[in-house]
Symmetry: C2
């Protein structure tokens, strides 16, 4: 049955040592699909598709001049109730940074090349190219070759999560963590910000450092304001970064995610609905809203569920395809096609619509939504 | 591994013949758990927990004076878009009956005993007792021993789906089908109603018989009215009952189901959310609502999701248990306990709270909601 052998890289004893996982377990994980071979963009690497022991999903082991491990970005857990969760979780102080609505990217240097990995550990050719354009990283990596820059790629010319930030516009990168390649140890909040300032690299906004007792009230105010400005939420951190960070998001963020997902109900809605709704329930409770505020929240939620569905049904009835158009900047057709190949590696169905004025329009098709909406419009039974 | 033998009843060749399923397949289905032994309420029977070939889930094969097959009530499929679905599905005319919000019961006579089966084929002791109290069935079954009366048990003293109907009050039974035991063949709509009138048995309301072309418009009006009166919806039938019936429900029915499910979010919500929301999307589209009507629908949806969650969180915070109290009429403690045992057979966790004035209060506990809400209120992470 097992015709393939395990990748030679995985068989090296050094890797078992670095990761602190026995060769036997690594091999087993490979056969289970937890670890995959990754031979793209001139790399010889292995990719962790899921977590294994203390090694995070998205971790990459790269066979370069030396063997390098880029650990996956750790999952940040969510609090539904700020007050009890902060009290239970943090010691003295909580540093509150803005959580931006984009996609998580790790940038690092491998054999003198700067490479950008997505959350899952894929090398995104567009992100890698843009990171080098937007950021001046040479000096930083010269001095700190063992560091990984973790941040959010945000803005409208963003193929994964397009969201408008007035201070960003088309595309920008905001850094939230500096971590050590192999150990994944992050710098404390202040050190990180000082170092970024020194290299003129832009961090996410620090919205305050609060004593644990005062933090929930402050954060509720902050999140209300962020929401009112159509911004996502916060990440709460131990200033020393010795405790796991937590995240919390605005009602508007929940609504806009529902809105997105319900536009493609038979592709995305089931995965999104339940958790967003639960968040709203606990937030409404903790914020102890007035009847009027509650009614506004209920309406926002209902509209963000109903209206995008309606738009999609109308569109399909008018012969449109349920799809989203991603726009990225490219210099030539090759760059667009390279990105589409990358999307296909991620099992995303996408086609090139056009290239115009240096921008490629790439259509991501939501096939189940298309097929099923069409079927119901033609009288298909549920 | 297979210590048990198959039930002797299942081994009888007659059963294979009656059901038109080979003995081998029946045996296989037994090992897979599709068919179960059912030895309760002095019956020797087998129960179809799932459908098998043309035999419906809920079918019971009973070893009485003769072998009797009570076929399961066929699943009624739903239309999301009335106009195209009716046109595609029906020939000339559509008979529209009210779909009531209660639970599906099949009543029949086995060896001179009148027995009531729930949808799944369980004998419900409460329903069986109440059916005999409410309905005068002796004459009917004297004449039609091979008939199964299919209807909805509705009203407030209803342990499964408590809903107030002004014309019913505490408990009533409304009949929608008369079917032949072994074949499941239903009487045509008119014959059924004539026969029920003759025996003074109450049918569900017939809301009209319409030409297929006019039906969608009429039904939309009917469903709007039903919804405005907090009633569930309609079942659309071929007057000759030779085609599969279809169902369609009001926005208010969707909202009230969401409301119920979101009161126990970690027990019921995931199963309810998606399908109810999809129904709302297509209904809003087909009803071509004004901005104002849409906004009302969105608010209704949002409120039916948000408010019950909020109530449950508040309740748990105040030390209450996330549970629903079912009230049934009993003559003694034994009847209450018998019903609780029946619920436990259905894997429903329930306890007797009290018996007072001939009514038993039975508490159904939603344990996951309790545990998880409590955990989040104490700062547990999501």
């Amino acid at each position: 049955m097992r015709e393939k052998n395990i990748p030679p890289l995985l068989a090296q004893e050094e890797i078992s040592k670095i990761l602190n996982i026995s060769s036997h377990k690594l091999e087993e994980a490979y056969w289970k699909g937890i670890i995959k071979n990754y031979q793209k963009h001139n790399l010889d690497a292995i990719q962790f598709r899921k977590g294994l022991g203390s090694v995070e999903s998205g971790t990459m082991v790269i066979n370069g001049e030396t063997i390098q491990v880029i650990r996956g970005f750790p999952k940040i857990r969510r609090t539904l109730m700020l007050k009890p969760a902060l009290k239970k979780h943090f010691l003295k102080e909580v540093a509150v940074e803005e959580k931006m609505n984009g996609y998580n990217v790790r940038i690092t240097q491998i054999d003198n090349n700067i490479i950008a990995f997505t959350r899952g550990g894929y090398i995104c050719p567009y992100t890698t190219r843009k990171a080098k354009e937007i950021l001046d990283l040479e000096d930083f990596f010269q001095k700190y070759p063992e560091m990984v820059i973790c941040g959010e790629m945000v803005g409208t010319l963003n193929p994964y999560v397009s969201h408008y930030y007035p201070e960003v516009g088309k595309l920008g990168f905001r850094i939230f963590d500096l971590r050590e390649k192999q150990t994944n140890i992050p710098l404390p909040v202040k050190e990180k910000r000082d170092l970024l300032r020194e290299y003129e690299l832009e961090p996410v906004r620090l919205l305050g450092v609060f004593p644990v007792d005062e933090a929930p009230e402050k954060i509720i105010e902050i999140v209300r304001d962020l929401g009112a400005n159509n911004r996502e939420g916060v990440v709460m951190k131990d200033p020393m970064m010795q405790l796991e960070p937590l995240k919390y998001t605005s009602s508007q963020a929940q609504a806009s995610e529902l809105e997105y997902a319900l536009g493609y109900p038979f592709d995305l809605a089931q995965a999104f609905l339940f958790s967003r709704i639960i968040r709203e329930g606990f937030q409404a409770y903790e914020m102890a809203e007035s009847t009027d505020e509650l009614s506004k929240r209920a309406l926002r939620m209902g509209e963000s569920i109903l209206y995008p569905m309606l738009e999609t049904i109308k569109g399909v009835e008018n012969g449109e395809v349920a799809a989203e158009d991603l726009v990225i900047e490219v210099e030539n057709q090759n760059e667009a096609e390279e990105f589409i190949r990358h999307l296909r590696d991620l099992k995303v169905m996408a086609t090139l619509v056009e290239i115009k004025d240096g921008k490629a329009v790439i259509r991501r098709i939501h096939q189940s939504t298309n097929d099923r909406v069409k079927n119901y419009l033609h009288g298909g039974l549920y």
